[in-house]
Symmetry: C2
Subunit: 365 residues, 2 copies
Amino acid sequence: MSIPTDRVTVALSDRGYDILIGPGLLGQGSSFDSLQGQGDSSAVVVSNPLVAGLYKHRLLEVLATRYRQVLFVELPDGEAFKNWSSLDLIFEFLLKAHCDRKTVIFALGGGVVGDVAGFAAASYMRGIPFVQIPTTLLAQVDSSVGGKTAINHPLGKNMIGAFYQPLRVIADLDTLDTLPDRELAAGLAEVIKYGPIADNAFLGWIETNFDALWSRDKKALAYAVKRSCEIKAWVVGQDERESGLRAILNFGHTFGHAIEAGMGYGIWLHGEAVGCGMVMAADLSNRLGLIDEAYVDRLTRLIERAKLPIHGPALGADRYLELMRIDKKSEGGEIRFVVIDSPGRASVRPAPDDVVRDVIAAHTA
Amino acid sequence: MSIPTDRVTVALSDRGYDILIGPGLLGQGSSFDSLQGQGDSSAVVVSNPLVAGLYKHRLLEVLATRYRQVLFVELPDGEAFKNWSSLDLIFEFLLKAHCDRKTVIFALGGGVVGDVAGFAAASYMRGIPFVQIPTTLLAQVDSSVGGKTAINHPLGKNMIGAFYQPLRVIADLDTLDTLPDRELAAGLAEVIKYGPIADNAFLGWIETNFDALWSRDKKALAYAVKRSCEIKAWVVGQDERESGLRAILNFGHTFGHAIEAGMGYGIWLHGEAVGCGMVMAADLSNRLGLIDEAYVDRLTRLIERAKLPIHGPALGADRYLELMRIDKKSEGGEIRFVVIDSPGRASVRPAPDDVVRDVIAAHTA
């Protein structure tokens, strides 16, 4: 049975763009139809060695028929390289190749490639067009949608970056076939996230279709990616620059970022930290009297089923609090948590330190 | 006679902001009225040793009555430090001080401080508010208005940056009292520029009032800064991201950038290179049959009167052409020049290499 290409539109005040979702997209010419600047401009594909080995030639072949020249830059693989050196590696390449403002960057890879290449596009000559081609589930449902780009600073994750929207997102579901189980699980964490914050019926759908998702059934994946992108597009369309609503997309991320930073980046995958962070944030919501324990248990079981951790590392409550205070959502030194107000509805608020300490004590090994 | 504060509004699609022009502004509380985020947020002043020595205390005193805390970061002085290290120095300071998204950056200095601090504001946590307090004539009439921020890359000037608008520009004319003559001249280059590209009557006004400007008469300076800002605001309001019209503000800059890069940044001041570049661009306009020789002579005489160079360094035509090909205006390897179509009107277009070579031959020592 063939699976048709889905299209989700991100509607922004000054312009909108499409997310294409389906199998085989990155090798299909039609995925690149009517993109700006074809013919007389250059295409620069940014990727990492692993992803490039699998998909580079297919993509380069399609782009070669549409751009004046197609160039390729390889970044070292992994969160540890989401830094200034990787960014500068792209800048140096673009400058040496005399790339002008009409050059289009194609980010082929997971969240790291998308974030670094996206920020490079945002700041090269003060902004050139770019296209996201996410090859992990996490990037397809979260990081490549919504225009957040960034690099890490030694003193904080994603601290340096830009809100910069792509021309298009091309989510080729076939790239998920080669994804390690651990990364599939990390992506599922962000898929699960959309249930409690925005669509509780979707949480039920994930529970019902969990086995199909886990076995990478394309039809199930197509729906999960599409529904996730729809929810994210709806949120981002209302609050592109995260002045309010958009912050709910960070459910589980306040605790999660503290885990990632406390362990050292790259030890836990981002999605793993978010999975565990959601358990903690749900428990916090319960302790604040917002949701019942049964809902916390339900979410915890699903996260466990996705082979994601539900206990955080024993960093000590002081260290957790210290790390959370430098979160980008914190204001005037006050940590702000995304909490579940009721199943399918979230908001951002501070919480008393002692309640947060209880949550940390209950969920760290 | 007291000089009233002038106000020029930059009208942009999503929001506008004001440029305040007058003597004594940086020490006046009212200059900071109704700026966003007062009371509960931090103010971070970014400056360099020379400017800080003159104006830091006055500014910090005023800000201290309006912000929760006022912090100060010093960058090394000069174009050579308009780079990643200076940017990172700001990031590290902000992160160590736990500065959040409501922190307001105040850029106190010339173009280098404004460009680096502005790009830091654009990319710290994906964007925090900032205010420009330009202390050179060049920054007051050009670099602090219009939202261009950038750092240099070893392979090209202003290659990495963002379009990011300030909350306000505060142009205190008293800061021009301490400006070295050479920097006053460099600023006058950008003032003169607005005549041929947009307002030929203003060119006449500059000629008539040249001695008053040169002796730093406040009333003359107030008008020159105001008219320059009005023209720039009008252009930027129509084309914020330089997709068309805005490029005319780069009159003299294509040749000028080649001079700066070819000599090594910091040998000639930017305004000196632009002064000489305008002579060359005017000559090019004449050779393309657009304006007569008398107008080229008139402009050349005024530039000479401002003690700006009218002959470029002998880099050789090949080197000039090579350097100009990496200009941000070039497209597909074709150099695009800002030319004068008629006195007070400019456009951007390519030019035959042999005509450009003739211009270079005629104007290099």
